[in-house]
């Protein structure tokens, strides 16, 4: 059992299942594969879900997972090998380190923290590529972080849904 450490809710959550973390990452990866062409403001789903689990369960999500899914993103998007792993590792580490602090805030302020983390992730990628001699993609590139931060609210609800379910259904139970 795991008490949700926020000031507003004392709801007791079920422990998360490892396969659900990996499953949600796989779904996020699939969503990232959907080709939107050059549309701006499309969030990086993998970064978002990775940040979510790093904040929620810093001990369950290893750096190895972030590295491997980053490599897969590199191949799928045709970018330079090592660009996504580097950014995701730093994101995962920072989100894990800030986990206790972020969870203390209500959702709006959590989303603000996440916005900064996502922007930093994109900045790492931009710096990596600019050093590698690529072109600056324009400021619209950073819009993806803002839409990602907006998605923090539905994401929290959806990804915590399995942990809200009671083990055995009981109508008279107080919690």
């Amino acid at each position: 059992m795991n008490i949700q450490p926020t000031h507003s809710s004392r709801r007791i959550l079920l422990p998360v299942r490892q396969w659900f973390i990996l499953f949600s990452l796989a779904v996020a990866f699939f969503l990232d594969l959907v080709p939107f062409g050059n549309a701006i403001g499309v969030p990086d789903w993998v970064a978002l879900v990775l940040a979510f689990w790093s904040v929620r369960e810093p001990l369950r999500l290893g750096m190895g997972t972030a590295f491997v899914i980053g490599l897969m993103m590199d191949v799928a998007s045709g970018s330079v090998m090592g660009q996504h792993p580097l950014a995701y590792l730093l994101l995962s580490y920072a989100a894990g380190g800030l986990s206790r602090r972020i969870l203390w805030f209500p959702l709006v302020q959590q989303a603000l923290h996440i916005l900064l983390l996502l922007l930093a992730t994109q900045l790492v990628m931009v710096i990596t590529r600019l050093l590698g001699g690529a072109d600056f993609p324009g400021w619209g590139y950073f819009l993806g972080s803002f839409s990602g931060a907006l998605l923090w609210f539905p994401l929290t609800f959806v990804l915590l849904l399995p942990q809200y379910q009671p083990l055995e259904k009981d109508e008279n139970r107080p919690i």
Binding site: F30, L33, G62, M63, F67, M72, M81, D135
Partner: protein, 305 residues
């Protein structure tokens, strides 16, 4: 309470500290970055992973595909009819060229034989569909639906009905990646149609092209047509690439700033032609040297590349 030489055993096994793990993996990814950017030795690994991911990518494309089909289904009939009329007119207009082309080609061959010149290489080509733009926002690339299974190799030139689109830069088993001419790192050797001036065309950031390192007094004007010069051994000579949009001659700089517009429908989706690789670069250079005699004579006083 540390005893000398002994640490108390940890209560929970958690492996190395997070910072140590972070440093290990960051060093690993930096090594990958350097390997890929400097030495390009990771193509095999990339191919392996890409092959595994291919079904997933196709599945992810399904919603977009469905949307496009629906969009096409509901696109109004009148638009299609209009397009049909336009295409028919175009066909009639180009018929005069097409009808004479066979005749001209035969004549050309005969004349070449008479002059004892090497015959122009016949070019094989593969028709392909652009599936989508690559997700990487730092470069201008598209994915086409033909790969090494269909005999595509890296380096092939890609054209559409209006001109050069780019070059195949990476080949996967079932699809390949085409770098567009508008990519910053893509260079195309070109020739100005009007006066045979040869230079190299680079991509600029905003979907346009740029002629760099051309002297401020170079003979180039807006609306000049640029075609491939064929000196690279990749593109066939004479394919239209771009049109000069504007020329800024600033006395403060020694080079003119020349902005061009791509001729092909770059950054649009549709069907493209992957031209076969040109063989025997040596012959081609020799041949283009003899063929472009007038251009060569002019070259004496002009900048070359």
């Amino acid at each position: 309470m540390p005893v000398v030489g002994h640490q108390p055993p940890p209560f929970f096994k958690r492996g190395p500290a997070p910072l140590a793990r972070l440093v290990f993996f960051v060093v690993l990814s930096l090594a990958l970055l350097v390997l890929d950017l400097k030495y390009r030795t990771l193509e095999l690994a990339r191919q392996g992973v890409a092959t595994v991911l291919y079904p997933l990518q196709r599945a992810a494309y399904a919603p977009v595909d469905l949307y496009e089909q629906l969009d096409g289904y509901f696109s109004s009939l009148s638009a299609v009819q209009q397009e049909n009329v336009l295409l028919k007119r175009k066909e009639v207009e180009s018929a005069k060229w097409l009808l004479r082309q066979e005749h001209l080609e035969l004549e050309n061959q005969r004349l070449r034989q008479l002059l004892d010149m090497k015959a122009r290489q016949p070019v094989s080509s593969t028709l392909a569909d652009i599936i989508h733009a690559a997700r990487d926002p730092f470069s201008r690339r598209v994915i086409v639906d033909k790969g090494s299974q269909q005999g595509i190799v890296a380096g092939q030139a890609v054209v559409d009905e209006a001109g050069v689109l780019g070059q195949v830069t990476r080949v996967y088993p079932m699809q390949s990646e085409v770098t567009l001419v508008t990519d910053k790192n893509q260079a195309v050797p070109v020739q100005v149609v009007r006066n045979g001036l040869r230079t190299v065309l680079f991509g600029a950031s905003d979907g346009q092209l740029e002629l760099r390192f051309l002297a401020a007094n170079a003979d180039i004007r807006p609306d000049d047509q640029l075609v491939t010069s064929g000196l690279d051994g990749v593109y066939l000579p004479g394919l239209p690439v771009a049109k000069v949009l504007r020329v800024d001659r600033d006395a403060a700089y020694s080079f003119a700033r020349i902005v061009c517009e791509p001729a092909a429908g770059v950054e649009k989706h549709g069907q493209v032609l992957l031209l076969g690789l040109r063989e025997a670069l040596q012959q081609q250079v020799e041949e283009s040297g003899t063929r472009d005699k007038p251009a060569k004579a002019k070259r004496g006083r002009k900048r070359d590349e």
